[in-house]
């Protein structure tokens, strides 16, 4: 390279390095790396996605379920344990609220519903009776007011004959329409049919964090807090007492520890692999010291552009963006181990970098923030890597080794046989291909911990058989209406919905527009109970409420306003059961045994797992679309630079090798996911570089250049190390890149026999 150009490169590299570091130094590292998955969701997401995101990241995601076990049976000690535990946890600035999970959790809600029963539950009662009345033969039937009053007495008589009547401890709950009893039954069903009963020697709590459970400092603080609480509880109640807790925070903390161990292990193995290979090939591993800074330099560039454009870099982008590590080190190898007889290395590096950068830049037009970040991360990283590669001087090395390997006739014949076998196998693989993304594959927490967490969750409100649905609408009354319509259509008794207790839009509408005289109805009701031998003074408070109810205007808005208070009364696992955010209103339905197949568009599954998986599926298809666009851009550029005949040969190598790899991956893995796809794009970029440099050598009747062998060997070794990871998707990436590197080399070897003179 011209020394003047090299000086210019060095100056340019230094300027960009200093500018980048100056920019990054103004930022706080904790804010640069984003770990919250919900921040990756697209801005134009659906209503349901917005609500789910709120629930996942603000409500359920911040919940920690806790059980204190092995308590002594002595009630006083239990009370002291409870007091001490609550006091310890409430002191922490990380804790937003902590509630005891028992019947009392719904007491506030029940009390409010009981106090406002004429607005919240009476319209439902009225509507049911009205429907029954309309089914009666119209000849000779009494007036609705009288019939409904008599029917209420009959219901009351039946209740007194039911098993529950004697067990009802509080007569004050009784009202002539049994509105409170019905609400109480429904709310008790929520409590008793979902969470498992707690042992007498255990207490359950629900804690809500006021910071993200994915934040490292929150995880550390909470762990410390529980350790402190455990010690103080042991002082009160003995050493057997045990605190178990679960939730996203616990899993995320466990995943973090495992990932940290994984990273150390993989990096160490990778480094050993790369040093061993460099030592075998050139016997001077310190040459690596010249090449390795390119990775640091590329990463600085990637971080700078992402932080400048997006404010932070998502951790998933860093994983997928490892593309640049693989490619940038190859740029260094091509520059350092440039052939003596080649004068086109810098030009080839320029083509390689330009085409890959142009391809990556197409990602910037995506709607999905993750895809845009990957594009910026990769393009800038490669640009910085290319800049750095220009500053590297060619190393004086022995070239014959590469030639010997590449031109052995047996080797080339074997390569041809192998590539044909690989194509046949991959064709079979393509018949097996299926795509599916599951966030659990990214889960790095130990399986035992996941099992323990599920068992713990079952003690609260979540079982694997329970389907949770999100019902949306334009008002509280409308969401209750949608929920009621759906629960009636599926007719599943194991359904919990607030709409079975609370009045819906049509019920409120029917009451406010009723042709019947409500005052007359309530008078008839009082009289009917008197006639049936009841002392109606028991119902004095009910009839007092009725007087003010019928005197005030009965309009739907009053009913809507009464429901609007409910979200403030729901805590712990019930938080978000009915709620609103700006103009979005929702309620949650829980259905056991999932006996339905169809649901209207305003009812969606509420599963943070499925929600994230659906998002990942969206990402995969977007990554595929933009990946294809990137490939098209690269192909156009290569064809323009090298002409159609030469260019098509170059682009066919990565194309064929990645298709073969994909076929093999489909055989090895049950389902392919977004990380296999990301691996394919990385693999294609690497293969393209190998093809560029190899065809340049073939044109000079030379075998595959040494720099390609070295790049491929180090890439293969690095990505082979990923296969020992505990995280399934990391193994996916490792497998695809590693296998593709091998296949590309075999393919290039098979093709090389057409261009070079075989050694005897």
């Amino acid at each position: 390279m011209n020394p003047r150009w090299r000086t210019v490169s060095i100056v340019a590299t230094l300027i960009t390095l200093i500018a980048s570091l100056a920019f990054l130094s103004q930022k706080e590292w904790t804010q640069i790396i984003e770990t919250d998955v919900s921040t990756l969701l697209p801005n134009n997401e659906s209503t349901a996605s917005k609500i789910t995101r709120t629930l996942v990241s603000e409500k359920q995601g911040r919940g920690i379920y806790i059980i204190i076990e092995n308590l002594p049976e002595h009630e006083e000690t239990q009370a002291r344990v409870n007091e001490s535990f609550l006091a310890t946890l409430r002191q922490s600035p990380r804790v937003d609220s902590i509630d005891l999970v028992d019947q009392s959790l719904l007491n506030d809600l029940f009390r409010y519903v009981a106090q406002n029963k004429l607005h919240l539950t009476f319209p439902k009662w009225f509507s049911i009776k009205n429907n029954h009345y309309n089914q009666l033969p119209s000849d000779g039937r009494p007036t609705f007011e009288e019939w409904a009053a008599a029917s209420a007495v009959e219901d009351f008589d039946n209740f007194l004959e039911s098993p529950e009547a004697m067990q009802l401890g509080e007569e004050g709950l009784l009202d002539p329409l049994l509105l409170n009893i019905t609400a109480l039954k429904n709310f008790s069903a929520t409590q008793s049919s979902h969470p498992k009963d707690t042992e007498a020697t255990a207490i359950k709590y629900w804690l809500t964090l006021n910071t993200s459970p994915l934040s490292v400092s929150t995880q550390d603080d909470i762990e410390l807090l529980f350790n402190q609480a455990q010690s103080s509880l042991q002082e009160i109640a003995g050493s057997d007492i045990k605190i178990r807790y679960g939730g996203l925070l616990r899993l995320a903390a466990a995943s973090r520890t495992r990932i940290q161990n994984d990273v150390v292990k993989i990096n160490l193995l990778s480094l050993i692999g790369v040093i061993s290979i460099v030592s075998i090939f050139i016997r001077k591993p310190w040459i690596l010291l010249k090449a390795l800074p390119i990775i640091v330099f590329a990463l600085i560039g990637s971080f700078t552009s992402c932080v400048a454009l997006f404010g932070s870099v998502h951790v998933i982008v860093m994983v997928i963006g490892s593309i640049i590590i693989g490619i940038s080190i190859d740029y260094a190898f091509h520059a350092i181990f440039e052939s003596k007889d080649s004068n086109s290395t810098r030009k080839l590096l320029f083509f390689a970098a330009l085409s890959t950068i142009a391809g990556s830049l197409t990602f910037l037009s995506s709607d999905l923030p993750l895809i845009r970040q990957i594009g910026a991360f990769t393009a800038t990283g490669l640009f910085f890597a290319f800049l750095y590669s220009l500053t590297l001087k060619r190393h004086d090395w022995e070239q014959s080794k590469g030639k010997e390997i590449s031109s052995s006739p047996q080797l080339l014949t074997t390569a041809r046989v192998l590539i044909i076998a690989a194509i046949i196998t991959s064709i079979y693989g393509f018949t097996q291909i299926s795509w599916s993304d599951d966030i659990r594959n990214m889960e790095a927490a130990a399986p035992e911990l996941l099992k323990e967490d599920l068992a713990l969750r079952e003690q609260f409100a979540s079982t694997e058989d329970t389907e949770t649905l999100l019902v949306t609408g334009n008002s509280y009354l409308e969401v209750l209406q949608h929920a009621d319509d759906f629960t009636q259509s599926i007719n599943n008794p194991n359904t919990f919905s607030l709409s079975t207790t609370l009045s819906t839009q049509s019920e409120v509408q029917a009451l406010t527009e009723t042709p019947y005289n409500l005052t007359h109805f309530f008078d008839s009701l009082n009289q009917a109970f008197e006639n049936a031998g009841y002392d109606t003074t028991l119902f004095d408070s009910f009839f007092n409420d009725v007087t003010s109810f019928v005197q005030s205007p009965i309009i739907p808005q009053t009913f809507e306003d009464k429901v609007a208070t409910l979200p403030f009364l729901l805590n712990g696992p019930f938080a978000g059961l009915i709620d609103s955010d700006e103009s979005l209103y929702w309620t949650i339905l829980r259905i056991e045994n999932r006996e339905f197949t169809e649901r209207p568009s305003h009812i969606v599954k509420l599963s943070s797992l499925e929600f994230i998986n659906e998002s990942l599926n969206g990402y995969r298809s977007s990554l595929f679309t933009f990946g294809i666009s990137a490939i098209s851009v690269v192909c156009i550029l290569i064809l323009s630079f090298f002409g159609f005949k030469k260019g098509i040969r170059i682009v066919l190598v990565p194309g064929i090798s990645v298709l073969i790899t994909l076929g093999f991956a489909a055989i090895v893995f049950d389902d392919l996911n977004i990380f296999h796809l990301a691996g394919c794009f990385l693999a294609m970029a690497l293969s393209l570089d190998y093809a560029l440099f190899s065809f340049d050598a073939f044109n000079r009747k030379r075998p595959i250049p040494f720099s390609v062998w070295l790049s491929a060997a180090t890439t293969g070794a690095s990505f082979l190390a990923l296969n020992i990871s505990a995280i399934s998707v990391v193994r996916s990436l490792g497998f695809v890149v590693c296998l593709n590197t091998v296949i590309t080399l075999i393919l290039l070897l098979a093709l090389s026999s057409r261009y070079i003179r075989l050694s005897k």
Binding site: D157, E161, P163, G169, K185, P493, Y534, D535, T536
Partner: protein
């Protein structure tokens, strides 16, 4: 009061006290003998049924509510109180107690009895099992006799969650004849067992499915 009179009064009151105590002991003795007899008779009986009448008195209702039903006792498993067409209360010895409603289509719906009512069911469980030891901590015992039956009245030592104000049990050497549970302010239920049957063969599969908690549930 002169000294001889005072001494006489003291002597008489002491005699009265001792004779009264002796009478109470005697009533307790007879009651417990009857309990032992009943227990001995049913010692080897794993499955029993008991027809009963029930009178429910409510302060706000002039006439009591009259009911009848069947109690099925599966020893060491559960007691099931079946009110035809109204529902079933299953008081399990192992698991949570439940209310069961059998619909017209034969499908049943179970609902756990809230833990706040567990006191009430613990008391019922102890009464059916004639296990008074469990109740001694929470109730004062008073024995009496009436029309050839020995009776026990239990008064709570302090207010309990179950809101029970009194319990009364009447029995002969053969069987329990009446159980009364009072909640104060005129609310009470009186259960009068009518007939008892022992089922050496056990309950039918249908009975087990309908009136007890099976493992699949």
């Amino acid at each position: 009061m002169s000294r001889p009179l005072a001494t006489l009064a003291l002597l008489l009151s002491t005699i009265a006290l001792f004779s009264g105590h002796g009478m109470a002991n005697d009533l307790e003795q007879r009651f417990l003998e009857n309990v032992e007899n009943i227990k001995t008779q049913s010692e080897d009986e794993t499955y029993q049924t008991l027809e009963f009448n029930e009178e429910r008195h409510f302060p706000f209702k002039k006439k009591p509510v009259l009911l009848n039903g069947t109690i099925r006792i599966w020893k060491d498993h559960a007691s099931s109180i079946h009110y035809p067409e109204k529902g079933i209360v299953i008081i399990s010895t192992q698991e949570s107690s439940i209310y069961r409603k059998i619909n017209s289509n034969g499908k049943s719906t179970d609902r756990n009895i809230p833990s706040s009512r567990s006191d009430f069911n613990d008391i019922l469980r102890a009464l059916f099992a004639l296990d008074f030891e469990a109740l001694k901590e929470s109730f004062n015992f008073k024995y009496s006799e009436s029309e050839g039956q020995t009776c026990l009245t239990l008064i709570p030592i302090q207010e309990n969650e179950s809101k029970i104000q009194h319990l009364a049990l009447a029995l002969t050497s053969e069987a329990i004849t009446q159980i009364e549970i009072g909640f104060g302010k005129g609310k009470k239920t009186v259960i009068s067992p009518l007939s008892k049957a022992v089922l050496p063969e056990g309950f039918t599969n249908d009975e087990i499915e309908n009136y007890f908690i099976t493992s699949e549930e």
